[in-house]
């Protein structure tokens, strides 16, 4: 075989290795009814066929049909068959695949429940194999892996800088002995925050008030290997937390307000690693809802009087199933809660998921497609927008400026800390 034929055979083998029965079903079943056109925020906002979910999958389907189905092998032109090394196809595939936020709203609209984001996982594997993976997502994933290998270089200096936040915590909880807990063997909870202090301090205050036995992970929950579509890197990034949980012997892994981190730890790690987590993964939203219901913390009802609305992050709501727990917590803190329409399973993606807030090459579609969310927020008249996902918050901050929304963007735990009744210990 020629080198070109060899390269093609390798790419086809890669695609074939990803083609389980479900994916073949997706590719064989789509009848191009285009119901998904009304589901995708990017297509609705731009009208560009590149963002039509059926078209995103169609690019992979053309390779699949030509090389992996009898009818396509016989009549490739009928199925618009394409080659996996076709530069034009790969350029288009890059733009549509890495622009997708994997919100899966299209799947809920599709009469066959075709999961386009799963088809795009094959597209990402093909793009990576042809040297066309997203450069910035690759860098973010590689730096997270590097951090995991060299964590001893960083823990001292990070903990030193966090002392200022610990001081703030002591002032708020009125306990001179309070502080962040590190490396606690056998703790009930391993809390996995995000890089920086903004997801650590509110959780530390809540854990302190709830009397929780907790310890702080040395690693952040975000996983850019997942957005990149590189399952080896994604597993390596998640593995850092799993190994830490094993070493410490914790009873629960509690994930901070980060959408994709919830799904990576609960749904994907076991697929990539072929092992179960060493301890159950629980959302911080469920924990705090439980603390309030059980009386372990008390918040002043209606403490926040400005109108508040809640954005369901796709990866926490539609794709993880947490709808009521965060609403319970938010409602407990405020007197004027206004849900957006539509909401829960049918909510619009904010437009910032899938790593898009880091991929500036997609800024145009990110901001245009965020218009639907901006309109929803405006319609509520809310002054505070709450959402438990870092990517959503970054995106909505961006929309706040771009569409002049005039809202304060907040995490759920930030509201809890505003409304909590401190019990001195």
């Amino acid at each position: 075989m020629t080198p070109e034929a060899n390269a093609r055979a390798e790419l086809l083998q890669l695609i074939d290795s990803k083609m389980n029965r479900t994916l073949k079903y997706y590719l064989d079943t789509c009848v191009r009814c285009a119901i998904c056109k009304d589901a995708c925020h990017q297509y609705v906002a731009t009208g560009d066929v590149l963002y039509l979910p059926a078209y995103r999958a169609e690019l992979i389907r053309r390779i699949y049909k030509k090389y992996m189905t009898g009818s396509g092998r016989l009549l490739p032109k009928l199925f618009e068959g394409r080659d996996p090394e076709d530069d034009v196809l790969l350029d288009e595939l890059y733009k549509t695949t890495y622009a997708c936020t994997s919100c899966r709203r299209c799947m809920f609209w599709c009469p066959f429940s075709i999961d386009t984001s799963w088809v795009l996982a094959v597209a990402k594997a093909l793009l990576l194999a042809t040297g066309r993976g997203s450069e910035i997502l690759t860098q973010l994933a590689d730096s997270a892996i590097d951090k995991g290998k060299n964590i001893d270089l960083y823990t001292g200096v990070i903990r030193e800088v966090l002392k200022g936040s610990e001081e703030e915590m002591r002032r708020i909880v009125q306990d001179p002995s309070a502080g962040f807990v590190y490396d606690k063997q056998g703790a009930d909870v391993l809390y996995v925050a995000l890089a920086g202090t903004h997801t650590i301090l509110p959780a530390a205050i809540v854990f302190h008030q709830a009397g929780e036995d907790w310890t702080l992970s040395s690693f952040e929950g975000s996983n850019y290997g997942y957005f990149l579509g590189d399952t080896v890197k994604a597993k390596a990034i998640a593995q850092r937390i799993v190994d830490e949980a094993k070493t410490l012997g914790v009873k629960e892994i509690v994930m901070s307000e980060c959408g994709h981190a919830h799904r990576v730890m609960r749904d994907f790690y076991r697929m990539w690693a072929k092992e179960e987590l060493p301890a159950p993964m629980v959302s911080i939203l469920s924990k705090v809802d439980g603390y309030i219901k059980d009386g372990r913390i008390k918040v002043t009802p209606g403490k926040i009087t400005e109108p508040v609305t809640y954005h369901d992050p796709c990866q926490i709501g539609r794709n993880f199933g947490l709808f009521e727990e965060p609403r319970n917590v938010v409602r407990a803190t405020c007197s004027d809660f206004r849900d957006m329409t539509p909401n829960r399973q049918k909510q619009w993606c904010c437009g910032g998921g899938g790593g898009l807030v880091a991929e500036t090459e997609f800024d145009d579609v990110r901001l245009k497609s965020g218009r639907l969310k901006a309109d929803q927020i405006k319609a509520t008249g809310a002054k505070i927008l709450v959402t438990p996902c870092e990517n959503c918050r970054l995106q909505i901050e961006s929309l706040n400026d771009h569409y002049d929304l005039g809202v304060r963007v907040s995490a759920v735990l930030d509201l809890v800390v505003e409304a909590i009744e401190i019990k001195p210990r």
């Binding site: 860098q139 730096s143 892996i145 951090k147 920086g196 903004h198 970054l394």
Partner: protein
């Protein structure tokens, strides 16, 4: 070390992870090989993110300092 010639200043104050690292990555090509970016961040997450990014992309942090809540990185473009 005090006379480092800075080719580009980046104000990353107030940006949260992963944006400080993303901005450094976006701007590194704006300085010549051997050139230096001085980036000022406030997110403690950058303490690991920016050095890890430098190491994994083959660039170099030649100096790092803290002034109050400002975390200052001198990043040399190596390639």
């Amino acid at each position: 070390m005090d006379d480092i010639k800075v080719d580009l200043e980046l104000d990353l104050k107030g940006l949260l992870c992963p944006l400080p690292m993303v901005r450094v990555s976006q701007n590194i090509s704006k300085v010549p090989v051997g050139g230096v970016i001085r980036a000022t961040a406030t997110d403690p997450g950058s303490l690991a993110d920016i050095p890890s990014w430098a190491r994994s992309t083959g660039n170099e942090i030649i100096k790092q300092e803290q002034e109050g809540s400002n975390l200052i990185y001198y990043i040399k473009r190596i390639k």
